[in-house]
């Protein structure tokens, strides 16, 4: 688990990061463009999703069909995603095709054709995707939970909003691309098999300019509310619950991670044993740390029957609140082992590593080595976690439910 981080910054501020992985034949990369859901002007929710589709419908000298053919001809496994902060245009592929893939992405990012007749189908697919969320309450409850939990615009839906999309024009969307595809704020991360010098020369050719564009600060507003219920006629009640905690750069970050692992790190963790095993309250339960640059929380999902929904929520909040009263050394050991094992498994995936180093740089301004993370986890103790919990109580829960029956949030 030793690794080295490669770093190079272009004159315009665009950051190039790399992590070599020995003995793999693949490479994964991601362009993190500062055009995520929260970065867009009010009233454009879903524009990022339209953009992530539209820019692939022809770029440079290639029309939509030719571009799709060229990307597939390189065996690219594409993986675009929208977060609060970024549109990430990523892919995994055989290492020997990397240079050609980056060349095509230079066109996609800097010279997308953005033809008007391609805008409508791109928008329609995003709208259809939002409608489809109604048939996926498990995912929908977590999207709504982030909307409720984070102060506006941080929690803005990364799927989109139908009303706002209906008002979106191709001209407005072009403007957003022009304003938000800001290379000075763009991070490129690559992991796997590559030659960093060759990548840097190519990235200079493709993306280097002398202009340092200004960086706009996000204005943070109010939180939406404490409890929202969305009625549907489904068989289950889907519960999303979130409570605020320290951000990824905080000294207590690893204490928070270990605390979540005690609650939800495995089959022996508290939520699983207390809610599922002992009481048989739900078929699915899990909690995880969710961190943005500006705010963070612990989010929890549980899927249960209408009859068991109230008791499920009550037991979950009780488990969160009780944690500060005590953790055994055995629980602590299992929580740490679980986190370290997850780290080792992630360290073997080029896509995971490319995502992790890019995310680190954006949030922390530097990339943590795996050894650093491992040592920081190792350095936590029952005392440090309990101290953290007493100073950062799990309380003021934001709750969202989807199902045939509302429940009571204390």
């Amino acid at each position: 688990m030793t690794e080295r981080v490669d770093k190079h910054i272009l004159k315009n501020g665009m950051v190039i990061l790399g992590e070599q992985m020995e003995q793999v034949g693949s490479v994964a990369f991601g362009f993190m463009l500062p055009a995520g859901a929260a970065m867009l002007a009010e009233g454009c929710c879903g524009a990022a999703n339209v953009i992530a589709d539209w820019i692939f419908r022809g770029a440079g000298d290639k029309n939509s069909r030719q571009l799709g053919d060229a990307l597939d001809g390189l065996g690219l496994h594409r993986a675009s995603s929208i977060s609060s902060s970024h549109i990430t245009i990523g892919a995994a592929l055989e290492a020997s095709n990397l240079a050609e893939a980056l060349e095509l992405h230079g066109d996609i990012i800097l010279r997308p054709r953005l033809e008007s007749e391609q805008f409508e189908p791109a928008r329609q697919l995003v709208i259809d995707g939002i409608k489809a969320l109604d048939d996926d309450p498990r995912q929908k409850v977590m999207v709504k939970l982030r909307e409720q939990f984070y102060p506006s615009p941080l929690g803005r839906s990364t799927i989109g909003d139908i009303d706002e999309l209906n008002g979106l024009t191709d001209e407005k969307t072009k403007e957003i691309i022009k304003d938000n595809f800001n290379l000075s704020q763009t991070i490129f991360a690559v992991a796997g098999k590559y030659d960093f010098d060759i990548i840097c020369r190519q990235m200079e050719n493709l993306f280097e300019t002398n202009e340092q564009e200004t960086i706009e600060q996000l204005e943070i507003g109010q939180k939406a509310g404490k409890y929202v219920h969305i009625d549907n006629e489904g068989a289950q009640v889907h519960i999303g619950l979130m409570t605020g905690t320290v951000k990824p750069g905080d000294d207590d970050y690893y204490n928070a991670r270990v605390a979540v692992s005690v609650l939800s790190g495995g089959m022996s963790a508290r939520l699983f044993t207390e809610v599922r095993e002992k009481r048989g309250l739900c078929y699915a339960i899990g909690a995880r740390y969710h961190g943005l640059k500006e705010a963070a929380g612990i989010m929890c999902y549980a899927g249960t029957t209408p009859e068991k929904a109230q008791e499920t929520l009550d037991v979950i909040t009780e488990q969160f609140e009780q944690l500060e009263r005590g953790i055994s050394e055995e629980e602590m050991h299992r929580a740490k082992v679980g986190l370290k094992a997850a780290l080792i498994l992630q360290s073997e995936s080029s896509s995971s590593r490319a995502g992790a180093i890019g995310g680190d740089y954006y949030i922390l301004g530097r990339v943590r080595s795996l050894d650093e993370i491992k040592n920081k986890i190792e350095a936590t103790s029952v005392e440090s976690v309990l101290g953290f919990l007493r100073n950062n109580k799990f309380k003021n829960f934001t709750v969202v439910t989807i199902g045939p029956k509302q429940i009571t949030v204390r």
Copy 2:
């Protein structure tokens, strides 16, 4: 992409397979127990799922809690699954903990406590999981599709049946375990970092007996039907479609895989461009090869609106049927590149490889090397794929829809 396959067979017929992966720190393993959904007696649909939970609720000298603690203490990422043929009890973990993990699995498989008071919560969670499927029509339509497509009992639900589970007793379930945890038919597959000699000695100690148990042959019945519609009030119509094709051991297997890749291998593949890009008919579409030992098919999923559902189905079946009329060299090239790239990415995941070598051995009686697969893909041509398609027409589609509106299947 060179690899070697380790193999050892115990006296009772249990097969030990391994694939070394250099430079990884993890190891993944799976015990493939011949107790999958189709292997059980009529009337016990879901018993495999109950078993996969129940055997973890205490084994050997450990009660449920102690066993969970011990597994989590090793940092095990557990991944049990139920297929038509097997219950696979698997995990990924740091390589240094493998011996201890196998020791625990010896107890779980050979000496589960199967306490009566632990049976009910195990069964209840499986029933809750089936109910939850109603809130996940995208997964449900594919479960129903396999039920309709495969002759009984091959397509039997791998999730379970509530009525049959309500009739299941702990005694009956114990009998199933006794009959179906047949070591003579069990395959153990491991991939990642390990010492094969050490594993073989340990497996001999844990699992070797002198008895060769008899192997019962599966009796294959009739197919269920051509079109089934399940009415729900959701926003979307979920379409599952399946057509029979050659089995994994067939000479034409790679031609079938390339044909599916032409239809659905990437953004430039036919289904994506014809159904989604050109006509904007659906937000999600994909087809893949699905092979059992006894039968195989190409399965396709599409999610669309009620208004577009009929046209979506019509265009999909048209694309399947038209494929034999011609494939361009460029399409052929992209289909092959896509399959090979997927192979390289899979080759870097210890969990994928453990699953792949175990599956190969069960279905083919031997493990294919990655080079063999690559060469066989390489050896296909436009002529060989078209020849295959003309002799194995894509026709007689089995269709399942879930949504507010029925459609017409020609």
